[in-house]
């Protein structure tokens, strides 16, 4: 592999005195799909726009293919973008939209048409080339936008919440589609999303952003299984916050069990436990009480209280019929290394 396709080095961005990006560093590896995941307003779009060249960093450097592009205009960066809003040129057909960037490059008309046709086929819209954007569904428009961005063979593809305007079914379909096309073409891609499921299911690596910084960068399973902070743990997936005490040996007493933690903190704390990391058995002598159940599809959530603390336990839906509101149960955490927060649970 040659140089890293995209690098952000100590990039700072302020808007009217308010710091939106606080010196972020990021290396996007060649051919990977990296998701920028974070809550609304944390600076994801800003980071993307700085890579694209629509926004200028106040400090730091942006490198594309090892070259400092801080002073290169957006039109010369060779970066493809798919926007959240529908961005097809309304006066051009799907095929003409895809061919636009090729025309800019001065490709002769026949080659443009041929290439545009191939790209539309790649995104499954070979039949729709003559249609205008207003004649296409939202999902189809985003596919054309994807084909249009791929047409100019960008060194980096940036996707800013490209699916957020679509309904759940189409979104799911397009996730797979984008992933497939991205793998096929092999373009290094940065996907911005605030949807953790989208990030975990699509990305090779996820960069979790929080208040203008990266809280953690890692593979989806690292992010999910070993979150670096309680913010990451609770933003990615669901966690129960349960009161715990850590003794001088570093053993954590939580839910009546004793577990280990790598935290150096001692004394009162809050343990973060995922609903699927808790085991639950019916037990008339149990110290937890079922308050309700919620069917979520393949899994069912059993809501229980344990000494006034609400706790959610996820079980396969097939086994959920053993529990109903008012039952006494025993819950046991089944994890090696508990993540704890210093503050005691409220």
């Amino acid at each position: 592999m040659t140089s890293t396709p995209v690098q952000l080095q100590e990039v700072v961005k302020q808007f009217s005195g308010r710091t939106v990006l606080e010196s972020i560093d990021l290396n996007v590896h060649g051919g990977e799909l990296l998701a920028l995941l974070g809550p609304s307003g944390c600076g994801k779009t800003t980071a993307l726009r700085i890579i694209a060249g629509f926004e200028r960093a106040d400090a730091g450097r942006v490198l594309i293919g090892g070259r400092d592009v801080s002073r290169v205009p957006a039109s010369r960066r060779g970066v493809g973008i798919v926007f959240q809003a529908y961005s097809l040129f309304p006066h051009l057909s799907a095929e003409q939209n895809v061919a636009y960037g090729l025309a800019v490059r001065g490709l002769p008309r026949r080659e443009r048409r041929k290439r545009a046709g191939e790209l539309l086929e790649l995104v499954g819209l070979a039949e729709h080339g003559a249609k205008f954007p207003h004649q296409l569904s939202g999902g189809q428009q985003q596919r054309v936008a994807l084909a249009r961005a791929f047409a100019v063979e960008p060194s980096v593809l940036l996707l800013d919440e490209p699916l957020s305007a679509l309904d759940a079914f189409v979104r799911q379909q397009l996730r797979e589609e984008i992933r497939r096309v991205q793998r096929e073409v092999g373009t290094t891609t940065v996907l911005v999303t605030h949807d953790q499921e989208e990030a975990l299911s699509m990305a090779d690596r996820v960069a979790v952003m929080h208040q203008g910084r990266f809280a953690q960068i890692g593979t989806p399973s690292e992010i999910y299984r070993t979150p670096a902070s309680s913010f990451v743990a609770s933003f990615v997936g669901v966690v129960n916050r349960v009161p715990a005490t850590i003794n001088s040996n570093g053993r954590v007493g939580v839910l009546g069990a004793e577990l280990t933690t790598s935290s150096a903190h001692r004394g009162e704390a809050t343990a973060l436990l995922r609903p699927e990391d808790l085991q639950i058995q019916p037990d008339p002598e149990g110290r937890a009480l079922v308050t309700g159940t919620t069917l979520r599809g393949a899994i069912t959530s059993i809501e229980v209280t344990w000494q006034d603390t609400p706790v959610r336990v996820d079980v396969p839906t097939g086994t959920a019929t053993r529990f109903s509101a008012g039952d006494r149960v025993r819950i046991t955490p089944a994890v090696d290394n508990v993540l704890v927060e210093k503050e005691a649970a409220a």
Binding site: S75, V79, F83, S87, L88, G101, V104
Partner: protein, 254 residues
């Protein structure tokens, strides 16, 4: 009942609209002694000033429209892309010409220019800047509506990220999507200039509306006939413009 009412209102409105028009037509194309005739019209049209002054007005209309578009499209582009917070101010400013009466405008201009550049007002083309100011509120509004109807920022950024420079983006992306708004703006500007009388007479320029008014004094029949034809001409223009603006796009290929 409501259907009857609707029809009645429609018929009434049509009558109110058509009666003066038909009357003018009858008056313009007939003489008390000879009956139906084109003589008054032909008389007026053969007047050498007819052609000159019509041509003058058409030229003024064209120049005014081009100047107004050339002035406002870049301005609005800049405002929408870079300074959206200034849009309300710009909009308020754009209606100012409506509250300044033509007489005040001319007197001010007279005082200023006769003192500074005496030659300026003697050229007919000196009307163009005044007309641009007059049409400003209408042209501004039509264009602004066009800008608001598209997601300008996203389209410009999409074009830019595909490698296009600002000129190409303007010509290939922005202007095509403003076509309908530009047509409306042009139509308003052209009709306004073709009907503008006050400024032209006050500044002593012989335009088509001035010709119409003078003809009205010598030959009321000819003036009526011309007025009807002018109206029809404007209508044709209007239809042509709106047809062009609505040209179906479906089925077009690369």
């Amino acid at each position: 009942m409501s259907r009857f009412l609707r029809t009645a209102v429609l018929v009434l409105a049509a009558l109110l609209f058509a009666v003066p028009l038909v009357s003018s037509g009858v008056f313009g194309f007939s003489l008390p002694t000879t009956g139906w005739t084109l003589d008054p019209l032909l008389g007026a049209v053969q007047n050498s000033q007819f052609r000159d002054q019509l041509l003058a007005s058409l030229t003024l209309a064209l120049l005014t429209t081009l100047a107004a578009l050339a002035l406002l499209i870049p301005t609005l582009l800049h405002l929408h892309l870079r300074l959206p917070q200034a849009l309300p101010v710009a909009e308020a400013l754009s209606v100012l010409p409506m509250v300044v009466p033509a007489v005040a405008l001319v007197n001010g201009a007279n005082l200023t220019f006769r003192a500074t550049v005496p030659g300026f007002l003697t050229s007919m083309y000196s009307l163009v800047p005044f007309y641009v100011v007059l049409t400003l509120p209408l042209v501004y509004r039509s264009l602004d509506a066009g800008f608001r109807a598209i997601d300008l920022r996203t389209l410009v950024q999409a074009s830019t990220s595909l490698g296009a420079g600002p000129i190409r983006t303007l010509l290939r992306v922005v202007l095509p999507n403003l076509r309908a708004a530009m047509l409306t703006a042009s139509l308003l500007s052209v009709t306004l200039v073709l009907g503008e009388y006050a400024l032209a007479t006050l500044l002593l320029h012989n335009t088509y509306p001035v010709f119409l008014a003078q003809t009205g004094q010598d030959s009321p029949h000819a003036a009526a006939a011309l007025a009807v034809l002018t109206l029809l001409g404007t209508w044709l223009l209007l239809s042509a413009f709106s047809l062009a603006g609505r040209r179906p796009r479906t089925g077009a290929t690369t």
